[in-house]
Protein backbone atom coordinates (compact mmCIF):
# COMPACT_ATOMS: atom_id res chain seq x y z
CA UNK A 1 0.00 0.00 0.00
CA UNK A 2 1.21 3.50 -0.73
CA UNK A 3 2.21 5.91 2.01
CA UNK A 4 -0.82 8.01 1.25
CA UNK A 5 -2.48 9.54 4.27
CA UNK A 6 -6.04 8.34 4.53
CA UNK A 7 -6.52 8.68 8.26
CA UNK A 8 -8.33 5.83 9.90
CA UNK A 9 -9.55 4.53 6.56
CA UNK A 10 -6.04 3.60 5.47
CA UNK A 11 -7.14 3.14 1.88
CA UNK A 12 -8.73 -0.20 2.63
CA UNK A 13 -12.29 -1.10 3.41
CA UNK A 14 -13.87 1.57 5.55
CA UNK A 15 -15.09 0.49 8.96
CA UNK A 16 -18.73 -0.12 8.26
CA UNK A 17 -21.30 0.90 10.80
CA UNK A 18 -24.05 -0.29 8.52
CA UNK A 19 -24.49 -3.51 6.67
CA UNK A 20 -24.29 -2.05 3.21
CA UNK A 21 -23.86 -4.18 0.16
CA UNK A 22 -21.52 -2.69 -2.41
CA UNK A 23 -21.80 -4.09 -5.94
CA UNK A 24 -19.47 -2.80 -8.62
CA UNK A 25 -20.35 -3.41 -12.27
CA UNK A 26 -18.76 -2.33 -15.54
CA UNK A 27 -20.76 -0.23 -17.96
CA UNK A 28 -20.70 -0.92 -21.70
CA UNK A 29 -18.52 2.10 -22.43
CA UNK A 30 -15.84 1.15 -19.91
CA UNK A 31 -17.07 3.25 -17.03
CA UNK A 32 -18.11 1.66 -13.73
CA UNK A 33 -21.27 1.84 -11.65
CA UNK A 34 -21.52 0.96 -7.96
CA UNK A 35 -24.76 0.03 -6.22
CA UNK A 36 -24.85 0.66 -2.47
CA UNK A 37 -27.76 -1.07 -0.81
CA UNK A 38 -28.55 -1.00 2.88
CA UNK A 39 -29.37 -4.55 3.87
CA UNK A 40 -32.31 -5.34 6.11
CA UNK A 41 -33.40 -1.75 6.64
CA UNK A 42 -35.81 0.28 4.63
CA UNK A 43 -37.03 3.84 4.95
CA UNK A 44 -40.44 2.55 6.00
CA UNK A 45 -39.14 0.35 8.78
CA UNK A 46 -37.39 3.09 10.69
CA UNK A 47 -38.81 6.25 12.12
CA UNK A 48 -36.41 9.12 12.45
Amino acid sequence: MSAKNLGAAGGEKIPRHLEMVKEREPKEDGRYIIFYTCEGETEEEVED
Binding site: A8, G11, E12, R16, H17, D29
Partner: protein, 335 residues
Protein backbone atom coordinates in the same frame (compact mmCIF):
# COMPACT_ATOMS: atom_id res chain seq x y z
CA UNK B 1 -10.03 15.74 -24.29
CA UNK B 2 -8.93 16.25 -20.69
CA UNK B 3 -5.97 18.50 -20.09
CA UNK B 4 -4.66 20.79 -17.38
CA UNK B 5 -3.07 24.15 -18.13
CA UNK B 6 -0.97 25.97 -15.56
CA UNK B 7 -1.81 29.59 -14.76
CA UNK B 8 1.50 31.00 -13.48
CA UNK B 9 -0.13 34.28 -12.44
CA UNK B 10 -2.38 32.61 -9.88
CA UNK B 11 -0.25 29.47 -9.53
CA UNK B 12 -3.13 27.14 -10.19
CA UNK B 13 -4.23 24.49 -12.68
CA UNK B 14 -7.22 25.02 -14.96
CA UNK B 15 -8.97 21.86 -16.21
CA UNK B 16 -10.16 21.73 -19.83
CA UNK B 17 -12.73 19.12 -20.84
CA UNK B 18 -14.17 20.19 -24.17
CA UNK B 19 -16.54 17.20 -24.47
CA UNK B 20 -18.57 18.71 -21.60
CA UNK B 21 -20.06 21.26 -24.03
CA UNK B 22 -22.31 18.47 -25.32
CA UNK B 23 -23.55 17.19 -21.95
CA UNK B 24 -27.23 16.60 -21.26
CA UNK B 25 -28.94 19.88 -20.37
CA UNK B 26 -32.19 19.99 -18.37
CA UNK B 27 -33.99 17.09 -20.08
CA UNK B 28 -37.75 16.60 -19.52
CA UNK B 29 -38.42 14.62 -16.32
CA UNK B 30 -39.52 11.55 -18.32
CA UNK B 31 -36.08 11.39 -19.97
CA UNK B 32 -33.96 11.88 -16.87
CA UNK B 33 -30.74 9.85 -17.33
CA UNK B 34 -30.41 9.45 -13.55
CA UNK B 35 -33.76 7.73 -13.04
CA UNK B 36 -33.89 3.92 -12.81
CA UNK B 37 -34.40 2.12 -16.14
CA UNK B 38 -38.04 1.09 -16.34
CA UNK B 39 -39.20 -2.00 -18.25
CA UNK B 40 -39.73 -0.96 -21.86
CA UNK B 41 -38.41 2.50 -21.11
CA UNK B 42 -35.32 4.19 -22.46
CA UNK B 43 -32.03 3.01 -20.94
CA UNK B 44 -30.78 5.45 -18.31
CA UNK B 45 -27.40 5.50 -16.56
CA UNK B 46 -28.76 2.98 -14.04
CA UNK B 47 -29.71 -0.42 -15.50
CA UNK B 48 -32.06 -1.40 -12.65
CA UNK B 49 -35.70 -0.77 -11.87
CA UNK B 50 -34.94 0.44 -8.34
CA UNK B 51 -31.89 1.48 -6.42
CA UNK B 52 -30.87 2.76 -3.01
CA UNK B 53 -27.71 4.85 -3.54
CA UNK B 54 -25.68 4.66 -6.74
CA UNK B 55 -22.26 5.97 -7.76
CA UNK B 56 -21.03 5.97 -11.34
CA UNK B 57 -18.30 7.59 -13.39
CA UNK B 58 -19.42 10.81 -15.00
CA UNK B 59 -20.11 10.45 -18.72
CA UNK B 60 -18.71 13.95 -19.26
CA UNK B 61 -15.81 14.07 -16.79
CA UNK B 62 -13.71 17.13 -16.06
CA UNK B 63 -10.91 14.68 -15.12
CA UNK B 64 -10.57 11.09 -16.29
CA UNK B 65 -8.60 7.88 -15.78
CA UNK B 66 -6.09 6.86 -18.45
CA UNK B 67 -5.93 10.12 -20.37
CA UNK B 68 -3.01 10.61 -22.78
CA UNK B 69 -0.40 13.35 -22.64
CA UNK B 70 -1.99 16.49 -24.10
CA UNK B 71 -1.27 17.36 -27.74
CA UNK B 72 -0.76 20.92 -26.58
CA UNK B 73 2.65 20.80 -24.88
CA UNK B 74 2.64 24.29 -23.43
CA UNK B 75 5.89 26.00 -22.42
CA UNK B 76 8.13 26.10 -19.37
CA UNK B 77 6.13 29.12 -18.22
CA UNK B 78 2.72 27.67 -19.01
CA UNK B 79 3.03 23.87 -18.90
CA UNK B 80 0.22 21.43 -19.54
CA UNK B 81 -0.53 18.06 -17.96
CA UNK B 82 -2.98 15.21 -18.54
CA UNK B 83 -6.36 15.83 -16.92
CA UNK B 84 -5.92 12.73 -14.77
CA UNK B 85 -8.39 11.94 -12.01
CA UNK B 86 -11.87 10.58 -11.47
CA UNK B 87 -15.24 12.30 -11.64
CA UNK B 88 -18.15 10.46 -10.09
CA UNK B 89 -21.87 11.13 -9.83
CA UNK B 90 -23.61 10.11 -6.59
CA UNK B 91 -27.35 9.44 -6.87
CA UNK B 92 -28.99 10.02 -3.50
CA UNK B 93 -32.23 8.22 -4.34
CA UNK B 94 -34.16 6.71 -7.23
CA UNK B 95 -36.97 9.20 -6.55
CA UNK B 96 -36.60 11.87 -9.22
CA UNK B 97 -38.36 14.55 -7.17
CA UNK B 98 -36.59 13.98 -3.84
CA UNK B 99 -34.17 16.44 -2.28
CA UNK B 100 -31.55 15.93 0.40
CA UNK B 101 -33.60 18.13 2.73
CA UNK B 102 -36.63 15.86 2.34
CA UNK B 103 -34.76 12.62 2.97
CA UNK B 104 -34.81 10.77 6.27
CA UNK B 105 -31.87 11.05 8.64
CA UNK B 106 -31.26 7.37 7.98
CA UNK B 107 -30.87 7.88 4.25
CA UNK B 108 -28.57 10.87 4.83
CA UNK B 109 -26.54 8.72 7.22
CA UNK B 110 -26.30 6.00 4.57
CA UNK B 111 -25.14 8.63 2.13
CA UNK B 112 -22.43 9.64 4.61
CA UNK B 113 -21.28 5.99 4.59
CA UNK B 114 -21.08 6.11 0.80
CA UNK B 115 -19.19 9.43 0.80
CA UNK B 116 -16.73 7.98 3.33
CA UNK B 117 -16.25 4.88 1.20
CA UNK B 118 -15.64 6.96 -1.93
CA UNK B 119 -13.13 9.13 -0.04
CA UNK B 120 -11.18 6.03 0.99
CA UNK B 121 -11.31 4.28 -2.40
CA UNK B 122 -10.56 7.30 -4.58
CA UNK B 123 -7.99 8.73 -2.16
CA UNK B 124 -6.04 5.47 -2.31
CA UNK B 125 -5.44 5.94 -6.06
CA UNK B 126 -1.84 6.90 -6.72
CA UNK B 127 -2.67 9.94 -8.86
CA UNK B 128 -5.30 11.37 -6.53
CA UNK B 129 -4.23 14.15 -4.14
CA UNK B 130 -7.63 15.47 -3.08
CA UNK B 131 -11.12 13.97 -2.96
CA UNK B 132 -13.65 16.75 -3.30
CA UNK B 133 -17.26 15.84 -2.46
CA UNK B 134 -19.88 18.39 -3.46
CA UNK B 135 -23.43 19.07 -4.59
CA UNK B 136 -24.73 21.80 -6.88
CA UNK B 137 -28.45 22.21 -6.34
CA UNK B 138 -30.88 24.32 -8.33
CA UNK B 139 -30.90 26.03 -11.69
CA UNK B 140 -29.58 29.20 -10.04
CA UNK B 141 -26.35 27.26 -9.48
CA UNK B 142 -26.33 25.96 -13.05
CA UNK B 143 -27.36 22.35 -12.53
CA UNK B 144 -28.15 20.49 -15.75
CA UNK B 145 -30.12 17.62 -14.14
CA UNK B 146 -32.73 17.95 -11.40
CA UNK B 147 -32.56 14.39 -10.06
CA UNK B 148 -31.14 14.46 -6.49
CA UNK B 149 -27.43 13.91 -6.90
CA UNK B 150 -24.02 15.12 -5.90
CA UNK B 151 -20.60 14.77 -7.44
CA UNK B 152 -17.08 13.81 -6.48
CA UNK B 153 -13.95 15.13 -8.17
CA UNK B 154 -10.77 13.22 -7.35
CA UNK B 155 -8.09 15.76 -8.29
CA UNK B 156 -4.43 15.07 -9.11
CA UNK B 157 -3.58 18.20 -7.07
CA UNK B 158 -4.84 19.94 -3.94
CA UNK B 159 -7.25 22.55 -5.36
CA UNK B 160 -6.61 26.23 -4.58
CA UNK B 161 -9.29 26.97 -1.98
CA UNK B 162 -8.68 23.94 0.28
CA UNK B 163 -4.94 24.50 -0.23
CA UNK B 164 -5.16 28.09 0.98
CA UNK B 165 -7.26 26.97 3.96
CA UNK B 166 -4.80 24.20 4.83
CA UNK B 167 -1.82 26.56 4.57
CA UNK B 168 -3.55 28.98 6.97
CA UNK B 169 -4.32 26.11 9.37
CA UNK B 170 -0.74 24.84 9.26
CA UNK B 171 0.69 28.28 9.92
CA UNK B 172 -1.77 28.76 12.80
CA UNK B 173 -0.76 25.42 14.28
CA UNK B 174 2.93 26.30 14.01
CA UNK B 175 2.43 29.56 15.89
CA UNK B 176 -0.28 28.62 18.40
CA UNK B 177 0.07 24.86 18.66
CA UNK B 178 -3.69 24.48 18.16
CA UNK B 179 -6.14 23.67 15.38
CA UNK B 180 -7.47 26.74 13.57
CA UNK B 181 -10.87 25.17 12.98
CA UNK B 182 -11.22 23.92 16.57
CA UNK B 183 -10.51 27.45 17.83
CA UNK B 184 -12.91 29.02 15.31
CA UNK B 185 -15.60 26.60 16.44
CA UNK B 186 -14.94 27.40 20.13
CA UNK B 187 -15.24 31.08 19.32
CA UNK B 188 -18.57 30.51 17.56
CA UNK B 189 -19.87 28.47 20.50
CA UNK B 190 -18.83 31.13 23.01
CA UNK B 191 -20.36 33.96 20.98
CA UNK B 192 -23.48 32.06 20.02
CA UNK B 193 -25.00 34.73 17.76
CA UNK B 194 -24.12 32.95 14.51
CA UNK B 195 -24.84 29.40 15.67
CA UNK B 196 -27.84 27.90 13.83
CA UNK B 197 -27.93 24.20 14.80
CA UNK B 198 -26.10 22.12 17.37
CA UNK B 199 -25.79 18.39 17.66
CA UNK B 200 -23.75 16.26 20.02
CA UNK B 201 -20.80 16.00 17.64
CA UNK B 202 -21.44 18.62 14.94
CA UNK B 203 -22.36 22.30 14.94
CA UNK B 204 -23.70 24.49 12.14
CA UNK B 205 -23.11 28.23 12.06
CA UNK B 206 -22.80 31.18 9.72
CA UNK B 207 -19.14 32.13 9.98
CA UNK B 208 -18.08 35.54 11.25
CA UNK B 209 -16.57 36.15 7.79
CA UNK B 210 -19.34 34.63 5.60
CA UNK B 211 -18.94 35.27 1.86
CA UNK B 212 -22.62 34.59 1.08
CA UNK B 213 -25.61 35.88 3.11
CA UNK B 214 -26.74 32.42 4.23
CA UNK B 215 -23.43 30.59 3.96
CA UNK B 216 -23.31 27.93 6.69
CA UNK B 217 -20.46 25.76 7.90
CA UNK B 218 -21.00 22.41 9.61
CA UNK B 219 -18.00 21.54 11.77
CA UNK B 220 -17.09 18.32 13.51
CA UNK B 221 -16.48 19.06 17.20
CA UNK B 222 -13.62 16.56 17.18
CA UNK B 223 -10.65 17.36 15.01
CA UNK B 224 -11.33 14.53 12.55
CA UNK B 225 -9.24 14.95 9.36
CA UNK B 226 -11.76 13.40 6.98
CA UNK B 227 -15.25 12.00 6.63
CA UNK B 228 -13.74 8.51 6.74
CA UNK B 229 -12.44 9.21 10.26
CA UNK B 230 -15.90 9.84 11.71
CA UNK B 231 -17.20 7.14 14.05
CA UNK B 232 -20.74 5.77 14.03
CA UNK B 233 -22.14 8.32 16.50
CA UNK B 234 -20.55 11.19 14.60
CA UNK B 235 -21.98 10.00 11.29
CA UNK B 236 -25.46 9.83 12.80
CA UNK B 237 -25.08 13.28 14.29
CA UNK B 238 -23.80 14.75 11.02
CA UNK B 239 -26.93 13.39 9.33
CA UNK B 240 -29.14 15.01 11.99
CA UNK B 241 -27.44 18.41 11.80
CA UNK B 242 -27.41 18.40 7.98
CA UNK B 243 -31.10 17.53 7.91
CA UNK B 244 -31.90 20.31 10.38
CA UNK B 245 -29.94 22.89 8.42
CA UNK B 246 -31.46 21.82 5.10
CA UNK B 247 -35.08 21.96 6.26
CA UNK B 248 -34.29 25.40 7.66
CA UNK B 249 -32.92 26.48 4.29
CA UNK B 250 -36.13 25.34 2.58
CA UNK B 251 -38.22 27.18 5.19
CA UNK B 252 -36.33 30.45 4.68
CA UNK B 253 -38.20 31.68 1.59
CA UNK B 254 -40.81 28.97 1.17
CA UNK B 255 -39.08 27.12 -1.68
CA UNK B 256 -36.39 24.50 -2.08
CA UNK B 257 -33.27 26.65 -1.69
CA UNK B 258 -30.50 26.34 -4.29
CA UNK B 259 -27.03 25.88 -2.84
CA UNK B 260 -23.53 24.62 -3.38
CA UNK B 261 -22.48 22.12 -0.72
CA UNK B 262 -18.77 21.27 -0.44
CA UNK B 263 -16.69 19.17 1.92
CA UNK B 264 -13.25 20.24 3.07
CA UNK B 265 -11.00 17.58 4.51
CA UNK B 266 -7.55 16.06 4.46
CA UNK B 267 -5.75 15.75 1.12
CA UNK B 268 -4.71 12.24 0.15
CA UNK B 269 -1.19 13.14 -0.95
CA UNK B 270 0.72 11.27 1.74
CA UNK B 271 1.53 14.37 3.81
CA UNK B 272 0.72 14.71 7.52
CA UNK B 273 -2.39 16.80 8.18
CA UNK B 274 -2.94 15.89 11.84
CA UNK B 275 -4.26 18.99 13.64
CA UNK B 276 -4.33 20.87 10.32
CA UNK B 277 -7.16 19.32 8.28
CA UNK B 278 -10.48 19.42 10.14
CA UNK B 279 -13.44 17.85 8.36
CA UNK B 280 -16.27 20.27 7.70
CA UNK B 281 -19.07 20.93 5.23
CA UNK B 282 -19.68 24.36 3.72
CA UNK B 283 -22.94 25.54 2.12
CA UNK B 284 -23.12 28.55 -0.18
CA UNK B 285 -26.74 29.40 -1.10
CA UNK B 286 -26.76 32.17 -3.74
CA UNK B 287 -29.99 33.83 -2.54
CA UNK B 288 -29.83 37.01 -0.50
CA UNK B 289 -33.63 37.31 -0.57
CA UNK B 290 -36.41 35.19 -2.06
CA UNK B 291 -35.97 36.80 -5.48
CA UNK B 292 -32.49 38.31 -5.41
CA UNK B 293 -29.21 36.48 -5.87
CA UNK B 294 -25.72 37.31 -4.69
CA UNK B 295 -23.66 37.50 -7.89
CA UNK B 296 -19.92 37.04 -8.02
CA UNK B 297 -19.34 40.28 -9.91
CA UNK B 298 -16.38 42.58 -10.51
CA UNK B 299 -14.98 42.80 -6.98
CA UNK B 300 -15.59 39.15 -6.12
CA UNK B 301 -14.41 37.68 -9.44
CA UNK B 302 -11.83 40.19 -10.60
CA UNK B 303 -10.37 41.22 -7.26
CA UNK B 304 -11.23 38.19 -5.16
CA UNK B 305 -12.69 40.58 -2.58
CA UNK B 306 -16.21 39.80 -1.40
CA UNK B 307 -18.54 42.65 -0.54
CA UNK B 308 -21.59 41.79 1.57
CA UNK B 309 -24.72 43.82 2.24
CA UNK B 310 -25.94 41.92 5.29
CA UNK B 311 -24.20 40.89 8.50
CA UNK B 312 -23.81 37.20 9.43
CA UNK B 313 -25.42 37.91 12.84
CA UNK B 314 -28.61 39.04 11.07
CA UNK B 315 -28.80 36.17 8.61
CA UNK B 316 -27.97 33.65 11.36
CA UNK B 317 -30.91 34.96 13.39
CA UNK B 318 -33.23 34.59 10.39
CA UNK B 319 -31.93 31.12 9.54
CA UNK B 320 -32.12 29.96 13.17
CA UNK B 321 -35.78 31.02 13.31
CA UNK B 322 -36.47 29.18 10.04
CA UNK B 323 -34.81 26.04 11.38
CA UNK B 324 -36.75 26.17 14.65
CA UNK B 325 -40.02 26.81 12.87
CA UNK B 326 -39.42 23.95 10.42
CA UNK B 327 -38.40 21.63 13.27
CA UNK B 328 -41.54 22.56 15.24
CA UNK B 329 -43.68 21.74 12.22
CA UNK B 330 -41.92 18.40 11.88
CA UNK B 331 -42.44 17.76 15.61
CA UNK B 332 -38.70 17.60 16.18
CA UNK B 333 -37.09 18.64 19.46
CA UNK B 334 -34.26 21.16 19.19
CA UNK B 335 -30.87 19.53 19.73
Amino acid sequence: MNQLRWDPTLREWVAYATHRQDRTFLPPAEYCPLDPTKPGGFPTEVPREHYDIVVFENKFPSLARDVPEPDEKGTALTPTAPGLGVCEVVLYSDDHDATLAGMSERRIRNLIEVWADRFAELGAREEVRYVFIFENKGEAIGVTLHHPHGQIYAYPFVPPRPKKELEAAREYKTHSGGCLHCDLLSQEHEDGRRMVAKGEHFSAFIPFYAHFPFEAHVYSRRCAPSIADLDAAERWDLARVLKRLLIGYDALFGFSLPYMMVMHQSPTDGEDYEGVAHFHVEFYPPNRTADKLKYLAGSETGAGAFVMDVLPEQTAHTLREAIESAADEAGDAAP
